[in-house]
């Protein structure tokens, strides 16, 4: 007999106050991302550099076995902060992160706006901050999978392959730098994605925005830099700004002769603007005054 025939039945459980009320939103977002076309392929593609760099760490500890491959180019496989920065700030990894955002993050808020689902979320004991954290964590999950996890795995495997703690003794701040930069780049991309996702009800427009703003800012920088040879134009490019800040995290000289904190300020300003827009856009009801 179906319930319909039986009539309405009460639920005999007890509603609980969740410690993390946003957790169901995050898990659902992650599950839905995996259902999207090409997502698994893009995610796997994004992990290729991590595998390559991990192999690099293994080879660096077995140099004598692979000498024939690196005649005169041993410094290529010297595992030091620059090695980590090269991985975490590489053009390819940043590009793949943007691709992940396009596929998994574009619809996070825009789909809810399009389908009027915000009122369903806010009819639950969920605050605006809880909703945003739940959505942001979808992006956080995938980005940390590409930054923090490989970064820490590199350190762990370096220690394992070396069989001693000499590496950590030389760079005791490196784990913190990996954690700090990973969190920074993730937080930036989170606000970047949620900002654009809240600006339109159309997922495609949001995808295009996420992709073109990142790419166009870099193209613009390239154009001005090539013509005027002024490194200050690096501040236009999101990618260059992330790399400048990355250099500071890993105690390296920035690629462009511009103070790193200018880049940091620009990225923070972007994040603050995103916060303001999100606060305005994400509402349980559309109030037209």
């Amino acid at each position: 007999m179906t319930i319909r025939e039986k009539g309405y039945a009460h639920w005999d459980g007890q509603l609980q106050e969740r410690r993390f009320p946003w957790a169901p939103i995050t898990w659902l977002g992650i599950r839905l991302a995996f259902k999207r076309k090409y997502f698994k392929f893009i995610l796997f593609g994004s992990m290729v550099p991590a595998i390559v760099f991990l192999v690099g760490i293994y080879i660096s500890e077995r140099m004598e076995d692979f000498q024939y491959m690196f005649r005169g180019n041993k410094q290529l496989l010297e595992v030091n902060p620059a090695y980590f920065k090269t991985y975490l700030c590489s053009d390819f990894l940043l590009f793949m992160m943007v691709m992940i955002l396009v596929v998994s993050g574009a619809g996070l808020i825009s789909d809810d706006l399009k389908h009027n689902s915000l009122q369903l979320y806010f009819a639950r004991p969920l605050k605006k901050s809880g909703y945003l954290v739940g959505k942001a964590n979808v992006v956080v999950f995938f980005l940390l999978l590409l930054t923090l996890v490989p970064g820490l795995v590199f350190i762990l495997f370096k220690l394992l392959f070396a069989g001693n703690f000499r590496f950590l003794a030389s760079y005791p701040w490196l784990p913190l730098a990996v954690v700090g930069y990973s969190l920074f780049v993730t937080a930036f991309f989170c606000s970047y994605t949620l900002l654009f996702s809240s600006l339109s009800k159309n997922r495609r427009y949001v995808s295009i925005l996420i992709f073109t703003v990142y790419l166009f800012s870099d193209i613009l920088f390239g154009f001005f830099y090539e013509n005027y040879k002024n490194p200050a134009f690096a501040l236009i490019s999101l990618k260059a700004n992330l790399q400048q800040v990355g250099s500071w995290f890993f105690r390296l000289k920035p690629a462009y002769d511009v103070p790193w904190y200018w880049s940091l300020l620009i990225l923070l300003a972007f994040g603050a603007a995103a916060g303001l827009v999100l606060n305005r856009k994400v509402r349980s009801v559309e109030v037209v005054k």
Binding site: T2, Q16, P24, L32, D112, L120, A123
Partner: protein
């Protein structure tokens, strides 16, 4: 008592949404009526905590509407008027998701989602993508997500909009079942008067942001006026004019039947005196039930 509000005021910029409303919503099924722009949805949104009133106070299920919004939402189910879904999901995942957000454990939410989907008649299509659902199915799904956590109070905003007659009948049956047998209080916001009439025992009528009428449907009908159906032979127009002069509202149907709304204080015998004086023969004189439509028209001041 499901809710109690006092001197509630809310405005959208210069436009006044609610203008100092005070009322008490009793247990059972209560209908919230009013023409477009009367403030029904605004009131519902304030009760849910979506909007914060600029003035006044209130309690829903004993919880303060300003300070305990999360608690209110835990025990309230809300079925919005607009279509709302999450694309790329099936209805079981969708319903269970909102059960989880209400505070149900994951396994329990999933089990309960199956139950309520069968209850609202979506059992067979519960694994279909929501994107492929018809308007009627989406309406049922909205009801399912509203009752998944077994709320104590259900807010239904236009629950039968976009439905064909059969779908409408079925949804109303479900609401009746929930409100009459299961101790779940229901507040229905609708402009379809017959829906309210068939489900609710109490009504609240709003007009231009103010309270126009409130109370038990049966009592309101009694208190406001009595309705008589009269058929006469002889001087029709003179009789009608005379009745109007006595303070009655008279409607004439196509088959010459007079529907006479008699003020509460008027003596019925005056109708017969008026008939005699205008030389009209009263051939048919039956007391009739006033409809909610009549009540609504009188409350909001339209014919």
């Amino acid at each position: 008592m499901i809710a109690e509000i006092s001197d509630l005021r809310y405005s959208y910029g210069r436009v006044l949404g609610l203008d100092g409303i005070s009322l008490t919503l009793p247990e059972g099924a209560v209908g919230l009526l009013g023409p477009n722009g009367a403030g029904k949805s605004t009131l519902l949104r304030i009760l849910l905590g979506f909007l914060s009133p600029q003035q006044g106070s209130g309690r829903v299920l004993g919880f303060d509407i300003r300070l305990e919004q999360a608690r209110i939402r835990r025990y309230v189910g809300y079925m919005p008027e607009d279509d709302c879904l999450i694309p790329g999901m099936d209805s079981v995942t969708f319903t269970a998701h909102f059960g989880e957000l209400s505070g149900m454990p994951r396994q329990e939410a999933m089990k309960r989602a199956h139950d309520v989907l069968f209850y609202v008649g979506l059992g067979e299509s519960r694994y279909r993508l929501l994107d492929t659902y018809s308007a009627g199915m989406k309406q049922r799904l909205k009801l399912a997500q509203a009752i998944v956590h077994d709320p104590k109070l259900l807010f239904l905003d236009e629950p039968t909009s976009n439905l064909d007659p059969q779908g409408r009948k079925e949804i109303l049956e479900l609401i009746k079942d929930i409100s009459s047998k299961k101790e779940i209080q229901v507040l229905i916001c609708s402009h379809i008067l017959s829906d309210i009439e068939s489900v609710c025992s109490d009504v609240v009528i709003l007009n231009k942001g103010r309270l126009a009428a409130q109370g038990k449907l049966s009592e309101l009908r009694e208190v406001q006026y009595r309705l008589y159906e009269i058929r006469t032979k002889g001087e029709g127009p003179g009789f009608v004019e005379r009745l109007k002069g006595l303070g009655c509202r008279v409607q004439e149907t196509e088959d010459k039947l007079l529907r006479v709304y008699v003020p509460a204080e008027m003596d019925i015998r005056e109708i017969f005196v008026a008939a005699e004086e205008t030389q009209s023969q009263v051939r048919h004189f039956v007391r009739s039930q006033t409809s909610l439509e009549d009540l609504f028209a009188k409350a909001v001041g339209v014919d």
